[in-house]
């Protein structure tokens, strides 16, 4: 297969764009595309301070790399969850994230659950019994709370995460299967700032998982290949496989599913609810973060329970 730009040997085929590209052209094309959509979606400007949530996986490291190449002011945030059963998932992903940051002289914040809160995530999940055998719901809660906290404490304008198109399409698929109206209304690559919470953006929302893996490999970025041990057999992985089967038969299915959802929403397919689904927020007296819970926020309540 030939590169559509220069006629050289292609290293990646992107049937959804009817295009194959060679290494040099692909490494130029991907950040250019990202830049185009950052502007189009009004995600952020070069004057704003960005905090990138980095997990040590391919997507978030590639995102950080591209933001850096494009000249944005992007610092990283790594949250050490202490998931080290078996494959040393957390310690290895932290090592790779720190190696990446050091090699490029980038600024990295590290939050350590055990050091900062006296408990690792698997223990926290067990003790509070949120989620029977998987700590994922506690994990999401901790990550959101800590991202908002660091963004606020250090004055970041924007929080960027490495969700790619396959992540977004799988989430959309799941929300559609359950007709989860609240989530469908809110699912968007840009969520505006509100009540002291930083704006949230997903600059990789148009890129396939395969493109992100190719980018990371071609750039020689070392990332954690093994997944979090709790991700095994997750429904999101099943949805991704299903969507890939459709993609295989009909190239472009994934990107159309998501981008047509966004344009349908823009045209008013989803009416604003008559009753307010976005709850009023107030300030948690304990940590100072906006919350919709009564009195103290869910994060602080969870921490209180394990510290009793």
């Amino acid at each position: 297969m030939k590169c559509k730009k220069c006629g050289g040997k292609a290293v990646i085929n992107m049937p959804q764009h009817n295009m194959g590209l060679c290494k040099d052209d692909f490494l130029q094309w991907l950040p250019e595309q990202m830049q185009k959509h950052i502007k189009k979606q009004k995600m952020f400007t070069p004057e704003e301070k960005i905090l990138v949530a980095v997990s040590g996986g391919k997507d978030s490291l590639a995102l950080w790399d591209m933001l850096n190449i494009l000249g944005y002011q992007a610092d990283g945030l790594y949250i050490a969850l202490g998931i080290d059963e078996g494959i040393s998932y957390s310690s290895e992903s932290q090592r790779l994230t720190e190696k990446f940051a050091n090699a490029r002289g980038l600024n990295l914040h590290v939050v350590n659950m055990t050091a900062d809160y006296g408990i690792d995530l698997p223990t926290l999940a067990k003790e509070t019994r949120r989620g029977r055998d998987k700590p994922c719901s506690s994990c999401g809660l901790v990550k959101r709370h800590e991202m908002n906290r660091i963004a606020r404490d250090f004055g970041y304008d924007v929080l960027a995460t490495g969700h790619n198109l396959d992540d977004e399409a799988a989430t959309l698929f799941s929300n559609t299967l359950q007709w989860n109206g609240d989530y469908l209304i809110r699912q968007h690559p840009v969520l505006a700032e509100r009540d002291g919470l930083a704006r949230k953006v997903k600059p990789l929302f148009r890129f396939y998982e395969k493109e992100m893996a190719a980018y990371t490999l071609l750039r020689g970025i070392e990332y954690i290949y093994d997944e979090c041990p709790f991700a095994e057999g997750s429904t999101s992985t099943q949805y991704k496989e299903l969507l890939n089967q459709l993609e295989h038969e009909h190239p472009g299915t994934k990107i159309h599913f998501f981008t047509k959802f966004l344009s349908a929403k823009k045209k008013g397919l989803f009416a604003e609810p008559t009753t307010k689904i976005v709850p009023e927020l107030h300030i948690c007296p304990k940590c100072g973060q906006p919350t919709s819970a009564h009195e103290i926020c869910t994060f602080c309540r969870m921490m209180d329970r394990v510290n009793q």
């Binding site: 297969m1 396939y208 998982e209 395969k210 190719a214 490999l217 709790f230 991704k240 496989e241």
Partner: protein
């Protein structure tokens, strides 16, 4: 010593008779027939080309490339969960 030489010679012969290539995904190794496209070999193994990247001698390559006899293709799974 004799047996050793004999053995290698025979293995070499079997391999060339079958004309195979090797595909590796994580800790699994598959022997596949050489001479078809990588894409065809992947589909035979029920691996979707959409979910992997193919690497030969450290270089990424597209799935329309032909599998050559005796070569090894390493697959990198691109799906991450969680």
């Amino acid at each position: 010593m004799n047996i050793f030489i004999d053995c290698t010679a025979r293995n070499g012969k079997i391999a060339s008779m079958k004309k195979t290539s090797t595909i590796i995904l994580r800790d699994k190794k598959y022997d596949v027939k050489a001479g078809s496209t990588i894409r065809a070999a992947l589909l035979k193994l029920e691996i979707l080309p959409e979910s992997v990247i193919c690497i030969r001698d450290g270089e990424l390559l597209t799935e329309d490339n032909m599998l050559k006899e005796g070569e090894t293709i390493k697959l990198v799974s691109v799906i991450s969960g969680g």
